[in-house]
């Protein structure tokens, strides 16, 4: 292999979402970027895997080294086949799976979509809109009417309820200050909304019984603002999995001269002096850079004091044989499942049209704040959704926990080393983009973050 450059402006280790955005943003303004990853795949904990690769996934490296620490790796990784007879067929189709460790949705008018458009990265990626929003009420799945058309067409909402619901949704701007209650659910109930309307609006907000009024209203507004742009619901999903997104940014970075090297097993250490990183030492060479960016997962523990992870994200991945709510056409469903009073479980059900699983199968992602273990956290929901005789059957399941690192602070981090947290529990990428932008602005205070990239026809090739 050719030797890597010995001096660059920015050295990045890890190809997670945040690192990849920073890489693209820095290359875009003309900085020389060297982007390395000890893994042989893109995305770290944001990555996508085919089925075989998921089975081979080893979240627990045998020995921590300077570029791998145990604290931030996935925990409780476990999978099992519930229908052994289907195993062979699925493994034969292994490459038709794109299984996300961290699946995300995008608000159609959210920061992420805005960034894709303003930076012209949209051309590197494809999306599919979520076709329906479901929630769980009185022991059954309910379609959440999200647009004006849905409210009109809903058979389950009386005409008066239609008016009450529409009135609430169109007057959110005026309610904040005048209310007596500070609890979102109590507020909805005080507006004389019937039980199912309350459940629908709670689902739009992704709210629990503890959600505050301000937060609930903000979330519903976000939901409504993103309606009517790209489809029937406010959400988009990345074709071929969310892992594609990190790669799209890497591609942009490479177009602007970023140098990529994956599967870098020969990294030895980041050397520091006077609270600054001076160089990266590999078995072959020393690489110097002005700034260094690494993912937490691939950073030496010596820079990460104190390591104290308070929260985990529970994840489950299922392969099933039919949809939780079969319909004429294949649907891309987002189910907001309230679990107890404090937690919601976000469920994405993806069919073959998303390019993440083969035909006649569904890939189901469950994500929630962790309370005990992923198995326990999802037990109730899975029992309700996948146990009846007419319900889909689970062929394969995989569980793991992702450490929630977005709110961690470390002491005495070298001043030119910037740490990128792993995935958060949000539905979308908003806070991660924010984090990437912050790091970028710290390194390059007065420069533009991801200005529009030129189209291919605007680029001069050759001289």
């Amino acid at each position: 292999m050719d030797e890597l450059p010995s001096e660059v402006d920015l050295l990045i280790i890890g190809t997670g979402f945040i690192e990849s955005i920073i890489s693209a943003a820095a290359s875009r303004i003309g900085k020389s970027v060297l982007h390395l990853d000890p893994n042989d795949y893109y995305g770290n904990q944001w990555g996508s895997f085919n089925l075989q690769a998921l089975l081979d996934y080893n979240p627990d490296p045998s020995e921590p080294c300077d570029f791998r620490n145990k604290s931030f790796s996935l925990k409780n990784f476990h999978y099992e086949w519930l229908m052994e007879d289907q195993k062979e067929d699925l493994l034969k189709n292994s490459r038709k799976f794109n299984i996300d460790l961290t699946p995300k949705l995008h608000y159609c008018r959210g920061d992420f979509v805005q960034l894709l458009i303003t930076s012209n990265i949209a051309r590197y990626s494809e999306f599919r809109s979520v076709t329906r929003i479901l929630t769980w009420l009185n022991g059954q799945l309910e379609l959440v009417p999200c647009s004006r058309s849905d409210v009109f067409a809903s058979q389950k909402v009386s005409v008066v309820e239609k008016r009450v619901l529409m009135k609430l949704l169109t007057s959110l701007d005026d309610i904040l200050d005048s209310e007596n209650t500070h609890n979102f659910k109590k507020f909805l109930e005080s507006r004389k909304l019937s039980d199912n309307l309350v459940t629908y609006v709670m689902a739009m907000a992704g709210a629990t019984e503890h959600t505050s009024l301000g937060e609930g209203v903000k979330s519903v507004k976000r939901f409504l603002d993103s309606l009517g742009r790209f489809g029937k619901t406010p959400y988009l999903f990345s074709m071929y999995g969310s892992g594609e997104i990190a790669q799209a940014f890497c591609r942009l970075s490479a177009v602007f001269g970023g140098i990529y090297a994956l599967n870098q097993q020969n990294l030895i250490s980041l050397d520091s002096e006077d609270n600054r990183i001076t160089s990266l030492t590999t078995t072959k060479q020393q690489i110097r850079a002005q700034n260094y960016v690494t993912s937490l997962e691939q950073c030496s523990e010596k820079f990460l004091r104190p390591v104290k992870i308070n929260n985990y994200i529970s994840r489950a991945i299922l392969i099933t044989n039919k949809s939780i709510l079969p319909s004429e056409q294949e649907q891309l469903s987002f189910l907001i499942y309230p679990e107890g009073t404090e937690r919601i479980i976000n469920v994405f059900e993806l069919g073959s049209l998303t390019g993440t699983c083969p035909k006649n199968y569904y890939l189901v992602h469950l994500t929630s704040k962790q309370v005990t273990t992923p198995q326990e956290d999802f037990k109730g929901a899975l029992g309700n959704l996948f146990s009846g005789s007419d319900q889909p059957q689970i062929i394969f399941s995989c569980y793991f926990s992702i450490p929630e690192t977005s709110d961690l602070d470390f002491e005495n981090v070298p001043e030119n080393l910037f740490l990128c947290p792993g995935p958060d529990n949000d539905l979308d990428y908003n806070s991660s983009i924010q984090k990437a932008r912050e790091i970028f602005e710290k390194m390059y205070p007065d420069l533009e973050f991801l200005p529009r990239a030129p189209d291919p026809e605007e680029i001069i090739i050759g001289d």
């Binding site: 003309g30 004006r148 009109f152 005409v159 008016r163 177009v255 001269g257």
Partner: protein, 313 residues
Amino acid sequence: MHGRLKVKTTEEQKAEKQKEQQKKLQLYRAGMKKILSTRASDLYDPESFGISTQLLCVNPDIYTLWNYRKEVLLIEKEESSKDEIEGDNKLAAFLDKEISLTEQCLIANPKSYGSWHHRYWVLMLHPNPNWDKEFGLCTKYLTYDDRNFHCWDYRRLLINKIGITLPAEIKFSTDCLNNNFSNYSSWHYRSTLRQLDENCIEDELNLVQSAVFTDPADSSAWFYFRWVLSNPALSKEKRQELLDNLEQLQELDPDCKWVVLAKCWLTGSLVLSDSEFVDKRVQFYKELIELDPTRKGQYEHYLKIAEEKLANN
């Protein structure tokens, strides 16, 4: 400096674009010249026919070319009628290609008059037209743009030609409305489908009430409401029930003029002989003058009539 992208300036891009346009223009001129010259000598020249296909795919609004193709198709029909055994099949195969061409042209411009007309004209000539496909096409283009009036026109043409399948059209109309009820065309189309009787008027009232309760400020559904109210099949009890519903809606939305207006329609201004609710109407018109001052004169006029009627009672 290495690894830096060189980007064209806007001037360069503009010049490039202009060059491309010039090239297109030349091709267009040459193509038209060729076609017109062969057409003049009254010849069906396959090469010209091919060129016209290409030109139409880029710009489906050159009606001269559609007319030229019609001439060629007539020649083709004439030819095929000489072959008693295979003639129909040959013609059908030829026309099928023509139908797919119009479909391609509609992708380029879904509002191309020429493409829609030509398509229908070809179907008329076709020995064995597939009407189901036409309904499908119509529905498909309406999902792209539910205000594309060409689709609505085309659908009416089809129905006039082959007759109506009521359940299918009711379903189509309901689907359109479910998709977006702020659409005069959808409501109007629905009103043309059937005569309302006691059995179906209930469904229509439910449908239209769903719309006005969802968004009372949207005028399209109110017009349909008015049309349903004008139906003699509406019973007196039903009227009373509707009036109660509208009262309820008014409580929720006191500033919406359409609700009061609908109450006027309901209490008799559509059937002028009805004098039972005159006192109420006097009240409604007074409310309307407040709510909708731009149409004050109109309401004052109606108010005067109502008040006179009240005095005579």
